[in-house]
Subunit: 338 residues, 4 copies
């Protein structure tokens, strides 16, 4: 940690702060400059956060040197983590595509959508039973019944299922039925939920929040690992920017960046990342090209009748075409479909 003092900070202040740093077992450094005194504290910066130096009236700014996350960092754990989900080992070399409708609507509709995505090569099914909706007047999901329907269809078709959990009270029930728990963008910093899901022995798909920096996402994952769950998959799904032509701005920079910084697998959600059906395929290919470990895509048997997210859901034939288009792109970067 680098500690820049205000111009008016005295020698005594500097000495006092250096003493506090040393007390915590860190190595203190004193760097008097022409316009500012700069202090350093070398060692585990997590300890420093307890010093509350940022509240000191003579401290102008703090500049951390080390990354604040440890367990998710590739520095500590250089080898890729792989997370098993059905036949796919997500994070290993093969590229995993999970697909399905936004929500569990009716059993028949889900079955038709699921049959279609299985036929096209999806490794698992996505569909929401608990739906986070901006408006209280929108369809909120079928809850436990939706969960049961999803489990039934997954068993019928022999595909694993992933579904969102929104409440600590539901973690056990969702973990019972689902093969992977999703923490949605709006709950990425629901720390109670992170702690609860961290105790579960099931894989977790952690979606990036709308205003979350990559570092925030990695720290949210750090909560899961710190609580004992190492089967964590990160998911880039677009961030909120000033652009209104698309629903969100898919940040593929973040995918390439995270693949360098963390050993965890990274999926991309091109459906929420664009919000526009016609942009899902090109962004899926881009995700494959820049190093993502797979996709989670919204596909509906009849998007024009979908109860939610119809505008960004692919028709089954479009999904089939996407899967075909992915193959040569994956081959070009030395990978293949799971």
């Amino acid at each position: 940690m680098i500690i820049v003092l205000k111009p008016e900070a005295t020698q005594e202040i500097a000495q006092e702060l250096l003493a506090r740093i040393e007390e915590k077992g860190l190595k203190p450094l004193y760097m008097p400059g022409s316009e500012r005194v700069v202090l350093g504290a070398l060692g585990d910066e997590r300890v420093l956060s307890q010093l509350g130096l940022d509240g000191h009236p003579m401290v102008e700014s703090l500049k951390p040197i080390l990354s604040p996350y440890k367990l998710v960092s590739r520095e500590m754990h250089p080898h890729d983590t792989a997370v098993a989900f059905g036949r796919a080992n997500i994070g290993a070399n093969a590229f995993a595509v999970i697909a399905g409708p936004c929500a569990v609507e009716t059993e028949d509709r889900l079955r038709r959508s699921a049959i279609a995505v299985r036929a096209a090569g999806a490794v698992g099914i996505r569909a929401g039973a608990y739906k986070p909706r901006t408006s209280p007047y929108s369809f909120q999901g079928h809850g436990p019944d939706g969960l049961a329907t999803l489990r039934k269809i997954g068993d019928e078709l022999g595909l694993p299922v992933v579904t969102e959990v929104m409440d600590t009270a539901d973690v056990e029930a969702v973990a019972e039925e689902a093969d992977m728990l999703q923490i949605g963008a709006r709950n990425m910093q629901n720390f109670s939920l992170l702690k609860a899901v961290g105790k579960v022995k099931k894989p977790v798909l952690l979606k990036r929040g709308l205003a979350a920096k990559v570092e925030d996402l990695l720290l949210a994952a750090e909560y899961l690992l710190a609580a004992g769950n190492e089967q964590v998959i990160l998911c880039e799904r677009g961030i909120r920017t000033f652009e209104t032509a698309t629903r969100n701005t898919l940040d593929l920079n973040a995918v390439a960046y995270m693949k360098q910084k963390t050993h965890l697998p990274v999926l991309v959600d091109p459906s929420h990342g664009t919000g526009v059906r016609d942009l899902v395929a090109p962004m899926s290919l881009a995700a494959a090209a820049c190093g993502a470990d797979g996709l989670i895509v919204e596909v509906h048997e009849s998007p024009a009748d979908a109860w939610s997210d119809g505008a960004q859901s692919l028709y089954p034939h479009q999904f089939e075409a996407l899967m075909s288009a992915l193959e040569p792109v994956l081959a070009a970067v030395g990978r293949q479909l799971a």
Copy 2:
């Protein structure tokens, strides 16, 4: 709702959509233009969301006409709602200042901070027992013990207390001890929590999310009102933008805008809104001048030793000076301190 069709949409498509609109009890409108056919649907737009028109392949875009929120809207409820909190009737003419440390640290420290803010004229105390922290290695709050300490100090000093609830599982416990429940920025779209807090008979302080549009905030409040809780106070606390000189960008436009659109009271949090101690006072005065109904400010008896948010916490003497400075500004806009 205005429905713009794609250039290639046929007459039959238009007729089919008009029929679906009519079936839902809305008044359909047909507007053929030179380059596009435009349809209209007049009536309750909440019904339309069930039509899934946005998923239709021949629909280019949807343009809602009415605001999606109803219960929080001033159109339906023109008179200001006031929420009682100790001696203050927040949302009525007097301006309410709530103050205290970021977190409950120790009983003694909280007592000293609380005595200071009471002396300066705060109407109530804020302090967190459950703390949402970006890093799992930061202080997470004392939980139930912190809650008990806060209640004790509130009773001792005769001041009401507000504290954050982060988990549906804790709603009952927090509602037991606190006079007002806070839903934090990171949980603004934790819809399970909104529904649970909506059933409580205690006032709620709902903070704007880092990436929440004003409309999202009003819809989050709509969840609370729809669940039966009408004692809702909105809080602007800064949004996340590209600017890095301040921790967040305090959006006072949103305060003036919301005062026109909703009957609910609006507070401002200049501490999180700036993240910089020296900016808290000027932004507090600005909030008072543009129509906010009060403030929630971080004040710590010794910010240089605070366990969290020290950089944005006022010293007691600074808070006292702020309260003095507020008086003439409030008088200038026809208000006074509660």
Copy 3:
């Protein structure tokens, strides 16, 4: 255009506005609803902007139906435009990679960089003679001398050159020496410059501004076409968001979106789009996969000694590896290197 009136707007107001719409030769529509009166005006919406309806006190909001750009739109001009630049026909099927250092530093250094990028397969050279720099204390470019050096190296190696023009006063001089004029991100809405460059008979590379919506970029291009220059290439180079891990957020959504909306070619600048050398290659592959027509990449013979943008400049061997990696990805999407 859809015109939503305020709830308190009278019948007379509506009639007055409809009359104004009709006077302009547009088809007026009257849609009385339960809570609002809505008016429509069908026809050329550019005419409507002269009506100043948005300033009317009884107008709540305006919702345009048609896109505000015409000449750049694929609706009016469905076939792809191709722009000749050396051996490349940018916007036709082959994928064009332009490369070179941020700035013209010395003749020898530029020659070494240019030889390297030519050897690896670049179709042209980029290098700045006029440099837009955030700080007045940073290297500002060599101006006319830099221009002459660039021309000399281009001629020596038989490669066309692209360079930025920042001032209407320099347009003629730059057009004299360069084979393509670049309008930089910070000048994307320098409308005087757009008008001046619109009169030049040379291709233009128009980079997206840091806060420009796609629609703003297309309207900036519309300025160029309206002034008579149809050889316009758009360039996505990252937008400014809250993310700080990367210099900008490369918005590949915008690339796929623009390829659908406009007939103009779209390049991607992965160097500014990421600001991080190690992210340039994966984002280049992503750009190729999602439909971009080429790249403009910073390559320096010795980035550790570059006078600007060293952190995002590739080493020659990295550029060579990138060109090799692009080939199979382009083949996978049915294209090849120009």
Copy 4:
């Protein structure tokens, strides 16, 4: 400057970099830590930018310690700069309000608007002759004729005028007629224009760009001062964020922050800052309360007929009411109207 090396950087690399730092006349520092080697370079950081350290493959990140601007900084120049504009000394204690229409439309209209703003107490008139418009089909301003009309009305009414200059080619002409030159938001980083206007002996109003950090704005002002023009006024006019309820997000944090960091005066433009007529008054009061030195407000004699910006232009009676409302707020913070 703090230079963090990558984990794999050798001792030799560190020594080489320290030597380069010393060569430049800066004091080098060596700080070996457990996970990273950190170097320091104390002295004028502008010199360091010539070292290109950010391009070095073994440098992980650079952390500047000193602010990159000097001439505009309050550290170098603690006393407030005041800029004369008619009877107002902007930046001294009195609060200056400049008002007028968006554009010079006709002489009669401008006269009526100007008479109204003078009657209400404005110290000067604003109106554009050269208009930066997003669309080439929007009214572009009357150019030189508009300039002459503006000068005529200013002389008639005895009020100074401010107007935008968009092109280096027009700087002389605008400086001839106007009492203050405005550099608009879209040209804030038009460095050619900054250099040209820096040579003029007239005051400059420099508006913040839509995506400009405060530091970028201060560096743009540094260009003006470095070129010799010290009569610079900064203007906060809203930044572009994800919020769509208002045209821009007025960043009053930036006003309070800049008043601490720079000696230059700071005005606020609540018209562009909100884009909504009904929000102009509350945001004006907020600006006055948080320390701004004045306002620049759009007022039109008949906004419903304005050729541009009607939606955010005040009616004359609204402006009069605003001026009355400002008085007690200014008194509350120890100031008064100029």
